[in-house]
């Protein structure tokens, strides 16, 4: 099933927006990003934006399995 890229972007942006603004992420040699900067990167479809989407998707996929063991 093909997933709409815009849907994914909006999903990830919404998930990031749910976090407090004083959070930052250091992502290897991509650098350091505030929540809002990451949202911008997702919107622009940059390499770090795509890495952020991958990170969020990994989270969404893995969580049901983890919660089932709770």
């Amino acid at each position: 099933m093909e997933i709409d890229v815009n849907y994914l972007k909006n999903l990830v942006k919404a998930r990031l927006l749910a976090m407090p603004p004083d959070i930052s992420f250091s992502v290897g040699n991509f650098g350091d990003y505030t929540r809002n900067e990451l949202i911008e990167q997702v919107e622009q479809g940059t390499e770090i934006g795509k890495a952020t989407i991958d990170m969020q998707l990994a989270f969404i996929r893995k969580m049901p399995g983890i919660l089932n063991t709770q």
């Binding site: 959070i23 930052s24 992420f25 992502v27 290897g28 990994a58 989270f59 893995k62 983890i66 709770q70």
Partner: protein, 210 residues
């Protein structure tokens, strides 16, 4: 053992700070720890230390790519062409993506095992604690999941057991963070899940460092 630590940006300053306890623990257990840090991180220095110290374990903290490890100037200092440097050694590299190609190259060149990450290594942090990483409760669970690998190896466990301990620790931390009322917990949670998914090893599962 050889501990390599770059320290030139926020991410590497976090790795630097959180790895200090591992050096102390190793020394307490009788390991002779050779440090290669900051501007001294180079292939020449690493080869020289390996020749003199004949380490059983290399622990790298810094940036990387799928084919290389970076020095303090964010330039490659070890890559797939120089992966013979890992010969007959167990290596753990906290560096983005290096398990993808550098890990297999290390094993092809006689490395016993290579523990690393298949994707970028995420550190969620509270920017209030940028200058004092050890006080950062958001980053702590992420760094502890990584540190447990080294602690387990120092206790004499195998590579496979040590990676498994990290996965188990990640699962416990994840479940704790899910139920946490800390507003910044979701950031820790997501970074932890990402890193845990990316963690794996190549080479001999039964390799030990002592």
């Amino acid at each position: 053992m050889i501990v390599i630590r770059t320290n030139h940006d926020i991410a590497t300053s976090y790795l630097f700070a959180f790895s200090e306890e591992l050096i102390k623990e190793a020394e307490n257990k009788g390991f002779k720890v050779a440090r290669i840090e900051g501007i001294n991180v180079s292939e020449t220095n690493l080869r020289s230390r390996i020749k003199n110290k004949k380490p059983s374990f290399i622990f790298f903290n810094g940036h990387g790519s799928d084919t290389s490890l970076f020095n303090n100037q964010e330039q490659e200092f070890i890559n797939v062409d120089s992966a013979d440097v890992f010969k007959e050694i167990v290596t753990y590299a906290i560096a983005c993506n290096c398990l993808v190609k550098l890990g297999p190259a290390a094993i092809e060149n006689g490395g016993y095992s290579f523990i690393g990450y298949k994707n970028p290594f995420w550190i969620a942090r509270d920017h209030k604690y940028e200058a004092t990483p050890l006080k950062d409760k958001i980053a702590r669970p992420i760094m502890e999941c990584s540190n447990i690998i080294v602690k387990s190896l120092l206790k004499g466990n195998t590579v496979e057991q040590s990676v498994k301990k990290s996965h188990e620790n990640a699962k416990e931390s994840i479940l704790s963070l899910i139920n946490s009322k800390e507003p910044l917990a979701p950031a820790s949670l997501q970074a932890l899940v990402a890193n845990d998914s990316a963690l794996d090893f190549k080479g001999d599962a039964s390799a030990k460092i002592m």
